[in-house]
Amino acid sequence: MAERSPQWSSRVGFILASLGMAFGAGNIWRFPRVVAANDGGPFLIAFIVANLIWAVPLLMIEMAMGKSTRLGTNGAFRNFVGRRRTWMGAWVGCCAILIMFYYSVVTGWAIRYLAFGVAGAIKPGLDSEALWKGFLSSPLETVTFHLVAILIAGAIILRGVQKGLEKANSIIVPSIIVILAVVMVWALTKPGAVRGLEFLFRPGLAGLLKAKTWLNAFSQAAWSVGAGWGLMLTYAVYMKEKDDIAANSFIIAFADSGSSLLSGMAILPLVFAVSPTVEAANTALQAGDTGLTFIYLTKFFPTLPAGSFIGGLFFLALSISALASLLSMVELAVRNLEDTGITRKMAAVIVVAVTFVFGLPSAFKISFQENQDMVWGVGLLISGMFFAYAAHKKGLDRVRGMINESSYVSVGRWFNACVLAMPVIFFVIFGWWVWQAATWYPRTWWNPFKTLSPGTMVAQWAVLLVILVLANNWLAKKIKAPHPESEGHKVISNP
């Protein structure tokens, strides 16, 4: 008897796993910073619009591809778009995997700070900057916690879709929401916290006329919801035939945005409550993702009543949200390996070992992690374009028909318009990021050895692209056909 493909046990299980994928460290440490830097209210409006135009259609395309082909990124592009476009799926997968290498290190940082909190190290009078720099300059610690992160993720993935992924996310996601709500209520009881709320919800609608507000909103939407990463495609492989695509896409996008808003309502009041002046609060918010979290917040928490405990809870939320996102990246890599005939157990072992080894440079040097974050973060926009291309190649009406087949929310022709608009949105956002990077290195923007230069981005993308295009036929051949006996699975044959 043929082995039955694994499936999510319920719709709720699928949604929680998808939310775990979407809600990562970026929602906690990037969203509050970006919304603060982009006029508050106008950014919140632009962000939800960006989600509806960019993220929701991409989530739908990914789900349609994963659900119809029942294959990981490589196989899905081969069967959905055509054999000659397998390299596009490999690009999508490689981008997510290259992010996974350093994301495991970042998850390790969060776990380390959770351990600091549990050990009582986050206490009044703490020199948080020295603690952060001391941690980063100790390879033994960064490597150990990187290993801890990927081992936990690997162990969960090894247990399978229902017992591992679904069960872990059914605990993680509600816990994140509860913890963030507790931190928010606690922060709002502090004097001066209301200034943070006022800052978050600044109503100056003139901000909507600024290009920067929209560029940042679309960038945040592209990275935050996880649309165009190939992760949703991977999770959709395990959907039941009757499972909805359209409404689930909306639910995931709105839930991710709502959770981001919740973390904004927790972090900004906290920053304003503990900063002596508005200028000091602004300085903290401009300190970058890690600066805000590991230096300022770590310093702020213990200065308030019950702050050390709440600080521990905060780092627990950060650790498990990062872990849930890491799980989805590991699953993407494992799914692609399984498609080549490797057993899940062996695939999980390979992915853990490879992630540990290739994560080491980021664990040793933060500038390497920053380089990879920039290169493959912007590279994800290219992945998004490949999904738009896939839908276009298949036929937008045909893809819409596939989405509507099992959806109780009918997707109209607005979907076609959004997908057709994607190349324009892509070129504007992509061009803006490359241009921004060029302004950081006015004389050496072409140099591939500068951490955040356009030169390093183009060089690394070009190397990956050439390798994948050359390996296209080999990649296409390596994918074993999915089990046609799987009940209810409609498999689109290779055109």
Partner: protein, 31 residues
């Protein structure tokens, strides 16, 4: 907080969480 900021907060919470609740409830009814 100014009334404009309070209005913005109420509208944003309604949009962000209202959208989520709308699609979640629609799904439940269907199931």
């Amino acid at each position: 907080m100014s009334w404009q900021a309070v209005t913005m907060m109420v509208v944003m919470i309604a949009v962000y969480f209202g959208g989520l609740i709308y699609f979640a409830l629609k799904g439940e009814r269907k199931e």
